[in-house]
């Protein structure tokens, strides 16, 4: 099923690569990806969509939250958002 995630990320060299790398290493293909500035220049917002089983979604969200430069991970369409 298609899921859209919204990730707040420290705007640092390499941070985007680590998010993308995490999804790739765990076998997910990112279908769409947008990186946008926020009102805080040190923080960017990443919006990405991917195909993922509902069961596996919680795990990839938790793994994303382990990345040191990640500030927040949300799944706006779903109660799993936190």
């Amino acid at each position: 099923m298609n899921h859209t995630l919204s990730i707040l990320l420290q705007n640092e060299a390499g941070a985007l690569v680590r998010v993308a790398g995490l999804f790739a290493a765990r076998g997910y293909n990112i279908d769409t990806l947008t990186v946008a500035a926020t009102h805080d220049p040190a923080v960017s917002r990443l919006t990405l969509s991917l195909q993922c089983d509902d069961d596996a979604l919680g795990q990839i969200l938790q793994q994303t939250r382990k990345l040191v430069d990640v500030l927040q991970v949300a799944h706006p369409a779903n109660a799993l958002a936190a």
């Binding site: 707040l8 420290q10 060299a13 390499g14 690569v17 680590r18 790398g21 290493a25 919680g58 795990q59 938790q62 793994q63 939250r65 382990k66 040191v68 430069d69 990640v70 500030l71 927040q72």
Partner: protein, 597 residues
Amino acid sequence: MSGAEVIVQVIAHEGVEVMFGYSGGAILPVYDAVFRYNAEHARADGSEPIPLVVPANEQGAGFMAAGYARASGKVGVAIVTSGPGATNMVTPVRDSMADSIPLVVICGQVGTAAIGSDAFQEAPISNIMGACAKHVFLVTDATQLEATVRTAFTLARSGRPGPVVVDVPKDVQNAALSFRGAGELALNGYRARLRAVEQATLSDADCVALFAALMQAERPLIYAGGGVIAADAAQALRAFVDAFGLPVTTTLMGLGGFDSTDPLALHLLGMHGTAYANYAVEDCDFVLALGARFDDRVAGVPGKFAPRAKFIAQVDIDPAEIGKVKSVDWHHVGPLKRALERLTAYGRAHELRPQLGAWHAHVAELKRVHAMNYDRASALIQPYAVIEAINRHAQGRAIVSTGVGQHQMWAAQYFDFRAPRHWLTSGSMGTMGFGLPAAIGAQFAQRDKLVIDIDGDASIRMNIGELETVTTYGLPLKIVVLNNVGDGMVRQWQKLYFKGRFAASDKSLHKKDFVLAARADGFDWARRLERNDALESTIADFLAFDGPAFLEVMIDPDAGVYPMVGPGASYAQMITGDFIASRAMPVAPEATTTHMF
């Protein structure tokens, strides 16, 4: 102060006692700063406050730092140059990530202006390490260097520990900076999550729910992992078991987390676990997983793991591990030590004492009937007998490191482990070549302890250059090579799953004389044991030698690792071999190729 001096100053403030690394162009300023720091701060006896131990290969430095960290609980530090120095460090960094071992690795990098130009000895270390470390920093702004290095230590040791890499371009090492002596990077996201986990406490309702299930259980079991050791929770586990009487089985990473000589200890579980531990897992009706992650060597078929358990509870510091493999009925994310102390206090205050007499008798009977055993009448030297003989001297008090393969499993099965941080093994990555450098690092952490590397003839070849490191630094390390003339573990799988076609796993044409090799590297005590009747006296002599000693033992090349829960099999289908009693008729392994590993 130069950037290089800032790095050394932060390292000194962090209380680092020893570092491991290999020099090169892009890290020369830091090496020079270490040299000057040690000269200026030499101790009264002339010794250096932060000696820098030089391996034969950077992979050795990484595993030395990891062995130091595993044996001491402190952060291991390694410093290497750019390009090949840093890429040689990838394996120990990934190994430490997979086993949750705290490291700080400082890598030299080409100057900021040259980054991306395919410069001499340039490698994209932040990309490479970013994929396998807990975190990686590429310091391009020299004013952030001090806070970054300090933050690296905090990251490495906090939460679920892991390796942190700091990539420092040469111009940043040479930058003129002022040293502040305090201050870290904000890392708001990480710190907020860490705070939430560290402050998490068990409510009364949590305790009520857990004890309600425990008091109904007739056959409860603790499944303890490496988290018990990382969290310094072994004493809290002991107190919990004293209060409530649950038997304990440990993972490979958890060995030492609970005294294996205790009547309630079931020792190792899983693919090569003891038969009695695995049968206890089959029989139990309640599982309390402590700092353990149901990995595939334990729960190869998650749906068949602990099939009679009506209630599974899990405590871990990492929220991503909860329910990752097996869904659980109760969980707590937080520091394990505090969680166990809270549960023990709650249960005691409410006078909750499960009545487990029948289960204890069952466990004792499993241990008696399905005890570890082997061919004691064989004329060939049995590897199990070698470990048992060493164990009679070590008595669970020596630090033991291993390579990877059959010898690793025999060591895990036949040694006693009485306290944490005495068992150093590459658990998750299973990296051959780990044993010798890890033992070197451990000896630097515990100078007065007996440190023994139980290695394989193939594993030790991977980092055999570090034999010379042992004698260079005069370490009284004891190295045992269990020589079965090949990749024994690979042969065991080829016997079982590839009809005995021993593709590339036989070393009978190999010419190395290990004893001569050890002598060439300065070992005064280096011997080969080939006869059973000399076993006891040789081991006694070997361990009593006051200095580095090397013992090669020519073992039965057909000795296997039993029990074995094959890939895709349940514990009930465990093969126990000819000398360990099985409970059921073992199912013949599929002789077809398997996609499992």
